[in-house]
Each structure stands twice: as C-alpha cells, then as structure tokens.
C-alpha cells in the first residue's frame, strides 16, 4: 500500500493508516494528557507521515515509524506550549527508589466483564495517566498496543534494558494502585431482604 500511495494513489493512504489510529492516538494522549490536544497531535502526525512517506525505510515497521513521528510531534507541541516537564528523554530509572507491589492476602481475580462498567474503565485510565511519563509510554506500547520490547525501544529511541525496567515498574505501580481500588468496586452488593409492605 505504501508503494501505491507513493505512486500517486493517495486515497490508499486512508486504508494504510486505519489499523494504526488507536496506537497513534494513545501515544499522543500519553504525552498531552488532554483528549483534544491528543487528537490534534494524532492528526498532525498522520499528515506528517503522509508528507514524508518517501523517507520510510522497510527495515522499520510502519507502526513503529508512525509512533516515532507521533512522539516527535507531541514533544514539539509541548515545547511550543512551554509545558514540557524537565524529564530527560532517556533517563535511566533510579534503581534505588524501588517500587513495591500491593500485598493482598484475600485477592480475587477481577473478570474482564468488569471493564464494561464505566467506573472501572475510569479507574484504569486514571491510574495509567498518573504513571510518570517514561513508564506510561512504555506500558502503553508494550501492554496495550502489544509492541515487542525491541519495537518499543526503537519507537521511543531508548535501550532495550530501559524498556524492560520501565515496563516492570509501570506494571508494579499499576498493581499497587489498582488492585485495592478494583477490589472495592468489584464487591457485589449484599442482597437485602426488604420487608413485605
């Protein structure tokens, strides 16, 4: 499809990008933290990708290339808005500051059906948004968008060990925050016997 677009069949570009809309939007959202800005960044990223499609090299996956463009677009936007936090782009995680999980003796699995409830979806979204940026981005790419470790490393321009450490920390942070909260919302209400009136 890329060859077709480059050969002048530009309408094919619509079909080319459809499978990647969510990945690009989520990556934009992980930087912008605001749905309107994230959508704008995602649109810009797709437009930029179209304009520089001829520079795409097949040694990368198209999805990874798109995500790199999205990240650059988001960073440029944040810099312009002077809202960028002073976070080095490939900061090595601080090994001294360990993250520990939530200890729960009476843990019970939360079934996937729980996600149908808006309350549960909001809890999960909020927990992911509250992760520090460097962990959130790796988590979204690896566990939500299911990129491989090396693809995530390439997209974020960081090393493979950094991806692994950040993913581990993100997962443990989410377990710590979400497990107690999900336990509470998943509690089924006790049946109440109402007196006959």
């Amino acid at each position: 499809m890329i060859a077709a677009v480059l050969a002048g069949e530009i309408q094919v570009y619509h079909e080319l990008i459809r499978p990647y809309e969510r990945s690009v939007y989520l990556m934009a959202l992980s930087y912008m933290k605001n749905k309107a800005d994230a959508e704008d960044v995602a649109q810009e990223a797709f437009l930029r990708a179209f304009r520089k499609l001829s520079t795409f090299r097949a040694e990368s996956k198209f999805s990874t290339w798109l995500i790199s463009i999205t990240i650059n677009e988001a960073r440029t936007r944040l810099r312009r808005q002077a809202r960028i936090r002073m976070e080095p782009l490939d900061q090595l995680p601080d090994e001294d500051k360990g993250v520990s999980p939530a200890l729960l003796r009476d843990w019970r699995e939360i079934p996937s059906e729980a996600v149908e409830r808006e309350e549960v979806r909001n809890l999960i979204q909020r927990a992911v948004q509250q992760l520090p940026g460097i962990y959130r981005q790796v988590f979204l790419l690896r566990d939500v968008e299911e990129l491989t470790t090396s693809e995530a490393a390439e997209a974020l321009n960081i090393s493979i060990p950094s991806v692994k450490v950040r993913l581990h920390r993100a997962r443990v942070m989410l377990q710590k925050q979400l497990t107690p909260q999900l336990k509470t919302v998943n509690r089924t209400p006790k049946r109440r016997w109402l007196p006959w009136s």
Binding site: E21, Y25, Q43, L103, I110, V115, E116, E146, H168, V172
Partner: protein
C-alpha cells in the same frame, strides 16, 4: 538457591513475559509454590495487565476517525492538480 519475597518482586514482569533464564525462573517458581503473598501479587499484576489491555478501556473518541480522514482529504485537495 532460595530467594526472599522482595527479590521475587523484581522478577514479576519478566516472569510474566516468560523471559527469565531457566534457572531464575525455577527459583522464582519454587518460591511461588509456597508463598501465597507473592502468588497473589503475580496473579493480580497479570489481572491488571489483562484488564488494562482490554480494547474497551482505551477507546478512540467518538468521531475521531471521521475527523482524521476529513482532514487528510483536505490535505489531498491541496496536493491534487
């Protein structure tokens, strides 16, 4: 080799991904076989990952696709002869 709970926690992620070296994996597994707390941590982490990865959690905003493709069409109109 015997390891304590805190060491096991460091291996949770790679254990779940199946990327631990065989020897380390066996050591972690032995610990998990008798430690209810670490087993619950591992299972709850796996559960959180599965829930978060559910397509229903992070959905595109309503109308996202339509707006995106309309904007791309505008771009194309600028290119067309």
């Amino acid at each position: 080799m015997v390891i304590d709970c805190k060491h096991v926690w460091n291996y949770i992620s790679e254990y779940l991904d199946g990327t631990l070296p065989d020897e380390t994996r066996d050591t972690v597994q032995k610990h998990l076989d008798h430690c209810e707390i670490c087993s619950a941590i591992l299972d709850s982490t796996r559960n959180v990952i599965i829930l978060t990865a559910d397509d229903r959690v992070f959905e595109l905003p309503v109308g996202f696709s339509e707006r995106l493709h309309a904007r791309i069409d505008l771009e194309f109109m600028g290119i067309a002869p």
